[in-house]
Amino acid sequence: MKYIYYPGCSLKSTGKLYEESLLAVFDALDIKYEELKDWNCCGATAYMAVDEKKAFVLAARNIALAEQQFKEEEEVNIVAPCSACYMILLKTQKFLEDNPEDMAVIKAALKESGLDYSAKAKIRHPIDVLVNDVGVQEITRRINKPLKGIRVASYYGCQTVRPYSTFDDQRNPVTMDELFKAAGAEVVEWTMKTRCCGASLTGTIQEVALPLSYIILHEAKKRRADVVTTACSLCQFNLECYQTNIDAKFKTDTKIDVIYFTQLLGLALGLDPKKLGINRLFAQPENLYKIMEGGKPVYV
């Protein structure tokens, strides 16, 4: 099966390392994909706040484009790695399904630009693809450098698992943990998995946003995690890039590696760190390398 890859705006800029690591992992696991042609902004949070209809149209155009691009394929599976994109695509499908009148309006509008929206596409998060399509067993088989001795705090963020996503539990998701257990890591039990990181408030109202990221980092450290893994570009950005600001504000030390789950998985698959965009991180995960080497990689 082949997937349609919908990057969204952030995977082309601040989340570039997410794109690099995701595609490297897909390649390593022989997952076939094509990037969606001429995709547009998903219409996420900020758009919804101004004009909801237009936000739905934006999302619907992407879905329709995907359906057109994969006309010949049996199934249209859109992989949306950014949580905000993922959520809004799901939300749009659900909304149009529940509101036939709006569906008719939007369908007609899309028709005018030569697109057909048939709602048959499936919206998938990469975690969902890895756990449910590839399977934990297969991934275990492919692990090259087990993450032995590394304590991982998986952080899913808010919109990855709620409110429309169904591949995991909305309150205590476990799929990412399963991946890392398969990769030989220890996973940290914590309650911050889906707590808000501050989202776009870090750019707008920092007084409110920084404490949110702080709580997450603090809890991860308290539970002796070596690394926090994220599945959304905004989460990774907030949790990694504001650590200095957070430390200055709370007079504390929150230094901890915050990397994309695909980067950590890529390391476990034995991929070249450069290919995984590790060089784009603010701090190189020396700590992880040390543990991995100390743990003497066992080749399976």
């Binding site: 705006c9 952030s10 082309k12 800029s13 601040t14 989340g15 570039k16 390392l17 001429d38 995709w39 547009n40 902004c41 219409g43 949070t45 900020a46 758009y47 919804m48 706040a49 101004v50 004009d51 909801e52 209809k53 237009k54 149209v57 934006l58 155009r61 909304f95 529940d98 509101n99 309006v105 939007i106 509008a109 899309l110 005018e112 630009s113 808010c158 919109q159 709620r162 409110p163 909305q170 889906t194 707590r195 808000c196 501050g198 989202a199 776009s200 408030l201 750019g203 707008t204 109202i205 007084e207 409110v208 946003a209 949110l212 890039c241 504001y242 060089n279 784009r280 991180l281 603010f282």
Partner: protein, 227 residues
């Protein structure tokens, strides 16, 4: 608005008004906007706001409720009572990070996040939003950028936002921006899709048919600026 009503009904003289700022903390029934609830309910897709049992689960689940001037539970109640100006000028609307924690937990299945979105839109449409608030400026700039280019370019977007709201923030965040730029994670280029014309047409075509077109009467505007 509170101030004027108070002054009128109690014949407070001007001298007294200058000494202390007098604000009434309650509202009389006649001052409430009873149609507000239905408007918001409609904009949030028929949310059954009547059904709220004021249990406060949403406020407890909300990670930012302790910064809001009215918690999500209060906002729901105020919307159904018709406290239009208070709700639309509140910080709550712009502090909501759309994390959906409240929506998932509400025992009555009320989609509070969608209500917050409806309030954001209403606040912009009715011109109630705080003009210098970065959150609303960001939303607006983002909107225009996507309308014209089809994509969002984080670099130019943030710079514009800081210039419009708080240029000092731009300066403060420069080091961060530079670090990102060094790592190829941000650019000043404006991203564009190929089929911009078609996209613009597409977006405009839903404009007229959109059921969300509220005409704002000028009196409510004046009231808003008086508060």
């Amino acid at each position: 608005m509170d101030k004027t009503v108070f002054a009128e009904s109690f014949a407070l003289d001007n001298a007294a008004k200058d000494i202390v700022e007098i604000r009434r903390r309650i509202k009389y029934e006649g001052e409430l906007d009873k149609s507000f609830r239905d408007k918001i309910a409609k904009s949030a897709h028929g949310e059954k706001l009547y059904g709220c049992i004021q249990c406060g689960t949403c406020s407890a689940a909300c990670p930012v409720s302790h910064y809001m001037d009215y918690t999500p539970r209060k906002i729901i109640q105020m919307v159904r009572e018709g406290f239009k100006e208070e709700v639309l000028t509140s910080s709550t609307v712009w502090l909501c990070a759309s994390c959906y924690a409240c929506t998932v937990e509400c025992p009555k299945g009320i989609k509070i996040t969608d209500v917050m979105y409806a309030l954001k839109r209403e606040s912009i449409l009715g011109n109630y939003y705080p003009k210098k608030s970065p959150a609303s400026i960001l939303a607006n700039n983002f909107f225009n950028q996507v309308l014209n280019n089809g994509r969002n370019s984080e670099g130019p977007l943030l710079i514009k936002m800081y210039l419009k709201t708080n240029p000092f923030m731009l300066f403060k965040n420069m080091a961060l921006g530079f670090k990102l730029w060094m790592r190829g994670r941000i650019s000043l280029k404006t991203e564009k899709i190929k089929d911009r014309k078609a996209l613009k047409k597409l977006l405009q075509s839903v404009e007229d048919k959109s059921n969300y077109k509220v005409k704002v009467n000028s009196s409510s505007l004046k009231e808003a600026s008086a508060v």
